[in-house]
Amino acid sequence: MSAPATSLSVKLLLFATYAELAGREQVTLEVPGPATVADVVRFFRASWPGADRVPDRPMAAVNRVHARLDTVVSDGDEIALLPPLAGG
């Protein structure tokens, strides 16, 4: 028997050029679970005006650590989409 579908609440952070493209720096999303980082990106790009200007396969972090797009996210996670890094 499969588990019932659940909804995950995640905080999505946008920085630098991605924040400018989407017109916001932060959004809380209710995403159908289970979900990966890629699912969260897909959900965000489809549900917010201008969000589809953010790339569909960005560099990402989950809870402040670099994460692959196939990383499974949990309720309450902080997911960040990171434009090309330019420190140093």
Binding site: F15, A16, H66, A67, L69, P83, P84, A86, G87
Partner: protein, 157 residues
Amino acid sequence: MRYLTRSPIDPGMLTVEAAGPADGGVASFIGLVRDHHAGRGVTRLEYSAYEPMADGEVGRIVREAEARWPVRVALRHRLGSLEIGDIAVAVVAASAHRAPAFEACRYVIEEVKRRVPIWKKEFYADGSIGWVDPTATARGDQSRERPDAAALGQVSE
């Protein structure tokens, strides 16, 4: 924040922070704001960061270097508005002998550039403004997917 600062960086203080009485050598890298990028004049720039992650990622890099070489590393990266000639980043590695100091210093600055979520907005002499994208410069076009994303996801402590 231990490694990020909005105040001017003093490399001498970093040397004091890193070096102890057993150390015979210090290697340092100092990154400056230059007045040009890709053939365009630059008048100033602004650094921003995902601050808690950036500070944590620098800490992981420093610990990696200190585990791999017999060194102690000190580092600061500026945030906010910088002028031409300002120190943007300074890395100092102190060791008993010079070889590990040089190697650790090089490792730390390369990993900082590759892994730490910091972004640079350049203000050009012609009045325009742009976010710096080192991956676009390196690959020469925008058509390919960035090669680093998957590899970065595998970075572990």
